[in-house]
């Protein structure tokens, strides 16, 4: 759109140009008609008429040649000095100088192009292809997640992509809106200024361009009510002759990165706490034993406690290692044919002493049917134990926890239902995330935020099953796991059997 002025000038010239042809032809026709009339009416002799006609056509031809030359000079002048014709490009657009340069070069190299028509066609093609490229570059920039702001050599804002538009402040004294134009390219720089954080960075980068080409800064910025952490990198741009072209500022949202860091720090802190608790118990007991504080029967009891605490530490370390190994694929998955209820029974046996300790009624209502599954027994067992131990952990003393199994179409369904404190709705989408802990329930029991992540991984990634959760605060939570039914090994053995017998 910025070169429409140019095109119209060009069109005007073209119109003039063809108009001149038509004028000349009309003139010659008129002259020959008049000539004929004169000869027919015998006013002039044919010799004179011929001379008149010749003179008229020669004069016309000379006039045409002259005007063509004139036009050509005019166009060449325009090409030589693009700023004269299109000052708006230089002022508005970053690519303006690129266009001017391209046109100039083309004009110089293509000396054999003698007619303005050829130049015109070339220019049109050139302008079109450049326009397409520009639209492409702009749409690419607009679809980037990172904000890009380009400043000219005089620190004026030349370009912002879609994301970077949020870092602009509209100067209050400007009432003129440019919302009709989706192209931020053409917007005059006066209208908008960047936020103070970026302005400061820009000023420093330009000021210290001798020392380093780029500078970075991190800042917090609120846009549409959402506060995020951003990192901005400003780089000075220069052409091949080290002349300053301007500065580009790239702004990245590092909110997720920062979140990950915090999550990791929290995870390490919670792991440390989990490890330190049993260690404190062990240390306290051992010191008392060393000091001879206890009677022999008390000492016996303390040794038992120490043993338990060490088991607890081992379990904790193992579960962390397990998750790391299973997730990274180091552990070999050993899927075999099993009966699901057998696995569930084993898991139930592991968990029922803990439930009894908390005075929780733990019931296993297992299906009467034989549920054939092709699973890694230890892994699936671990997943069920994790679910059950969570259920027991987050259920207050005296209430109940239920483990159920049933057959449904082509899957085996396992249900772990508790009558505990429940999970608030806004936490439900996150409960299978690593390190995530429900903030409301965080304090009611110790945990690493790894248990459900491991369950999810084992059920979905290892066993092609699915897991879902329903929960109501203060009423309880129900985890439903589905595992595809069917043995796989027997089929294979049967297939292999005949050739073995033969």
């Amino acid at each position: 759109m910025f070169f429409s002025g140019f095109i119209s000038t060009e069109k005007e010239l073209a119109m003039n140009f063809s108009g001149k042809y038509w004028f000349l032809i009309l003139l010659l026709l008129t002259v020959s008609c008049v000539d004929n009339l004169l000869v027919m009416s015998q006013i002039v002799s044919p010799g004179y008429a011929l001379i008149i006609a010749l003179t008229a056509s020669l004069t016309g031809w000379a006039w045409l040649m002259k005007s063509i030359k004139n036009d050509q000079q005019q166009i060449t002048a325009c090409l030589r000095n693009p700023e004269l014709v299109r000052p708006e490009i230089q002022r508005k657009n970053f690519y303006g100088s690129v266009f001017a340069e391209a046109i100039h070069k083309m004009e110089e190299s293509d000396t054999e192009l003698s007619t303005t028509n050829q130049v015109k066609t070339m220019l049109k093609a050139r302008v079109n292809s450049l326009l397409k490229k520009e639209a492409l570059v702009e749409s690419v920039l607009d679809n980037l997640e990172t904000g890009i702001l380009i400043f000219g050599a005089k620190q004026e804002l030349e370009f912002t992509n879609r994301v970077a538009n949020s870092f602009l402040i509209t100067a209050s004294d400007q009432d003129h809106t440019t919302s009709d134009s989706s192209l931020s390219l053409g917007k005059p720089a006066v209208e908008k200024t960047v936020i103070p954080e970026l302005a400061k960075l820009l000023a420093k980068t330009i000021e210290r361009k001798e020392a380093t080409l780029s500078r970075r800064t991190e800042f917090e910025f609120t846009c549409n009510g959402v506060t995020n952490q951003y990192r901005a990198i400003a780089t000075n741009l220069s052409d091949e002759n080290h002349g300053a072209l301007g500065t580009v500022v790239v702004v990245e949202n590092i909110g997720e990165e920062a979140d990950e860091k915090t999550q990791h720090a929290e995870f390490v802190s919670s792991v440390a706490h989990e490890l330190k608790t049993p260690m404190s118990g062990i240390k306290a007991y051992i010191e008392m034993l060393l000091d001879g504080d206890c009677e022999p029967d008390e000492a016996e009891e303390l040794y038992g406690f120490i043993n338990d605490q060490i088991d607890r530490l081992t379990r904790l370390v193992n579960s962390m290692l397990n998750l790391a190994r299973i997730e990274s694929g180091v552990v070999e998955i050993k899927r075999h044919d099993h009966e699901l209820n057998d696995i569930l029974k084993t898991a139930a046996d592991v968990i029922s002493p803990t439930a009894t300790e908390k005075d929780i009624t733990f019931t296993a209502e297992l299906s009467d049917m034989y549920l054939p599954v092709f699973v890694d027994k230890d892994m699936l067992g671990q997943a069920i134990i994790n679910l059950l131990s969570n259920a027991v952990k987050y259920t207050p003393n005296g209430r109940e926890v239920r483990l159920r199994s049933r057959m449904e179409d082509t899957s085996a369904v396992i249900e772990v239902r508790d009558t505990g404190m429940g999970i608030p709705e806004n936490s439900l989408p996150h409960i299978f995330d690593r390190f995530y802990r429900v903030p409301e329930n965080n304090r009611s029991a110790a945990g690493t935020g790894l248990g459900l992540a491991l369950v999810h991984f084992i059920v979905t990634n290892v066993h092609n099953g699915s897991i879902s959760v329903q929960s109501k605060v203060d009423e309880g939570t129900c985890f439903t796991v589905t595992i595809p039914l069917g043995h796989k090994e027997q089929k294979r053995k049967k297939q292999l059997a005949p050739p073995a017998n033969a």
């Binding site: 720090a265 706490h273 404190s280 240390k283 306290a284 000091d291 406690f305 029991a445």
Partner: protein
């Protein structure tokens, strides 16, 4: 009269170890699994001292300290805070703000804890005898 001490930790083994140590030293001890229960009891009967864990369900150690410092009858009793946290926890800040007498980092020595309890209550071994 024996000194009454409230011990507050969600880990039963830590509570057991501390209470054994303190009872043997002649203190009267009462144990709570979280800050809330301890506070409820402290409102009824103010102890001479409170030993509490930092991270606990329902009400954590810091919240408990705040409540204790708000209550007239318990405002000036010594508090020892047990914590599993290291440098991510600013000891000095909390010690000043909530007037926590001592901070002990887990794993801790029950013997040292006993000494600190005795110091906080201005006792010497002779008196307890």
């Amino acid at each position: 009269m024996n000194h009454l001490i409230y011990i507050c930790d969600d880990d039963s083994h830590i509570v057991r170890a501390i209470s054994m140590k303190l009872r043997k030293a002649g203190f009267e001890v009462e144990c709570f699994p979280n800050g809330f229960e301890c506070w409820e009891k402290a409102r009824e009967q103010a102890p001479h001292m409170i030993i509490t864990d930092l991270q606990m369900p329902l009400m954590n150690g810091l919240e408990l300290c705040e409540k204790i410092r708000e209550l007239e009858t318990t405002r000036s009793i010594p508090i020892t805070l047990l914590t599993g946290k290291g440098f991510e926890f600013d000891h000095n800040e909390y010690m000043q703000k909530l007037k926590i007498t001592n901070v002990m980092v887990k794993p801790f020595s029950p013997k040292k804890l006993l000494t600190q309890v005795q110091e906080s209550l201005n006792l010497t071994n002779d008196v307890i005898g």
